[in-house]
């Protein structure tokens, strides 16, 4: 890779990031819109440019199972999936996290069928949010590359040993060409040493992995896993800081945009944050100050950082790309609401569902949301309806 920025499709960039991380095993099954990531990795392995085993599997269930096996054997392991593929590997997502395998997966977020849709939203990852994985969300292609490299460092830290999901929006990130700066192999090697596993499946020192957990022990086992996930936040922050020092691009679990003067903010995940920033800039020209709280880390939920970011905020619009599925609100809203109410922060919270199944979300939509939030109807404290959210742009 040459110095400076390269115009490149984000999916290809993601596979180059995995190569820079010197992955040793890739097991994946192609599914739109993840396809280009795994196709390119397959090419890199076939061409001898990447010294890794590429396992062709017959399904995503097998892909994640093979990843668990490879990780158990001590290999640095990578995979990628989308939508139905993530649902098919759902069972094994829990096993990867509970058995503490530091697998990294690029999750190219896509709507779930039916109706059949190959387009982007967050239905897939929201259905997998409680699988015990560390979850990062990316706003742009550069962040995808940097996050994949950071993800291995976070996952393989002896204080963590958990899988990391790097979420990037299908099409609106995966298939766009962006100017991306690739770190040199030398710098990545210095940042990310070879994986040194705590336990491996090796005949010289036999161990049992994935043993039966009796009722006397299961609670303690799950509690230990949960504590590891919660405690991983400090390693996430450490790794982000270290990355910033070495590569000049700094990241934080929670970032803000134009929140200094604004008492009304959006909270969202993923690439939609770029649209929101555009909308905020447009509102600024009209003399209206609105801010954005951007969650780069979703699991573990960065409560302290969010509380700090919400200081002085009066109104929050939680923007989400997934249907609540019979809940009063969408998943991200429920967690923000829990945080705000358990800390008696007295913030008006409104929930907006946008961009389902790849529908465009324009800056004007966010203007409408701000107007809606300031209406008397939106201010009411206790929602009377079972449906405590609005779906932007739904006809009829």
């Amino acid at each position: 890779m040459k110095e400076g920025k390269t115009g490149i499709e984000v999916s290809i960039a993601a596979s180059i990031a995995a190569k820079l991380a010197r992955v040793e095993v890739v097991a994946a099954y192609p599914i739109t819109p993840q396809t280009h990531i795994v196709e390119h990795l397959s090419e890199l392995v076939a061409n001898g440019e990447l010294d890794a085993s590429y396992v062709n599997v017959e399904s995503e269930h097998s892909a994640m199972s093979a990843c668990c096996g490879a990780s158990a054997a001590g290999a640095r392991t990578f995979t990628s999936t989308s939508a139905q593929g993530m649902e098919l590997m759902h069972e094994i997502l829990f096993i990867a996290s509970a058995m503490r395998f530091p697998i990294v997966m690029a999750a190219v977020n896509r709507a779930l069928s039916s109706p059949l849709s190959i387009w982007g939203d967050h239905s897939d990852v929201m259905a997998a949010r409680d699988t015990g994985w560390i979850m990062l969300f990316c706003e742009n292609g550069q962040e995808v590359v940097d996050s994949i490299i950071m993800a291995f460092k976070i996952a393989e830290d002896r204080r963590v040993l958990l899988p990391v999901m790097v979420n990037l929006d299908g099409f609106s990130l995966s298939h766009v060409i962006e100017p991306i700066e690739f770190p040199s192999q030398e710098k990545v090697d210095a940042f990310l040493p070879p994986y040194d596993p705590l336990y491996t499946l090796h005949p010289d020192k036999p161990v049992t992995m994935g043993a039966y957990g009796m009722p006397e022990l299961y609670t303690e086992a799950k509690y230990a896993q949960e504590m590891a996930l919660i405690d991983s936040k400090k390693v996430v922050i450490e790794v982000m800081d270290d990355f910033g020092k070495r590569f000049g691009r700094s990241y934080k679990p929670v970032e803000t945009y134009n929140t200094e003067k604004a008492d009304t903010v959006f909270i969202a995940l993923g690439s939609i944050n770029e649209n929101i920033k555009t909308a905020i800039d447009m509102l600024k020209e009209e003399g209206r100050e609105v801010g954005l709280i951007h969650l780069r880390l979703f699991r573990p939920f960065p409560s302290d950082e969010l509380i700090a970011a919400l200081k002085g905020v009066k109104r929050v619009a939680v923007i989400e790309r997934a249907m609540p599925g019979g809940a009063m609100n969408s998943p991200l809203f429920n967690e923000i609401s829990s945080l705000v109410h358990s800390n008696s922060m007295g913030i008006q919270l409104n929930n907006y569902i946008v961009g389902l199944g790849g529908r465009d979300v324009n800056p004007e939509d966010f203007h409408g949301i701000i107007d809606d939030m300031l209406s008397p109807e939106a201010k009411k404290e206790t929602p009377k309806e079972e449906k405590n959210y609005r779906v932007i742009g739904v006809r009829g």
Binding site: Y199, T208, M209, E220, A221, Y223
Partner: protein, 97 residues
């Protein structure tokens, strides 16, 4: 295990509940699931060892005389040994407790 399961605190468990001690499944006696148990008729037994080979739980052992029997601490009474025994030397009989 170094101590009984119900005495472990969460922070005392290995990462991912990995078990480093080899062969400790022996400590968990699973024979009490059984409703039927295999009984050998040594007069019919030809000492072929198929019962020993097919037992999915390695619960069958060979005694000093070369005949076979089940270790009832682990035998779950699945009946595979009786099914595979060519001379018909094994009968499954109801467990009485």
């Amino acid at each position: 295990m170094a101590k009984p399961m119900d005495q472990y605190k969460w922070h005392e468990l290995n990462v991912g509940c990995v078990i480093e001690e080899v062969g400790n499944a022996m400590e968990y006696k699973t024979g009490d699931w059984r409703t039927m148990k295999p009984v050998w008729n040594d007069a019919k037994c030809i000492k072929c060892g198929l019962c020993w080979l097919f037992c999915p739980d390695a619960a069958i052992y060979q005694n000093d005389e070369g005949f076979y029997a089940a270790n009832l601490d682990y035998c779950k009474g699945c009946g595979i040994c009786a099914k595979e025994c060519k001379p018909g030397a094994i009968t499954m009989v109801e467990e009485e407790r």
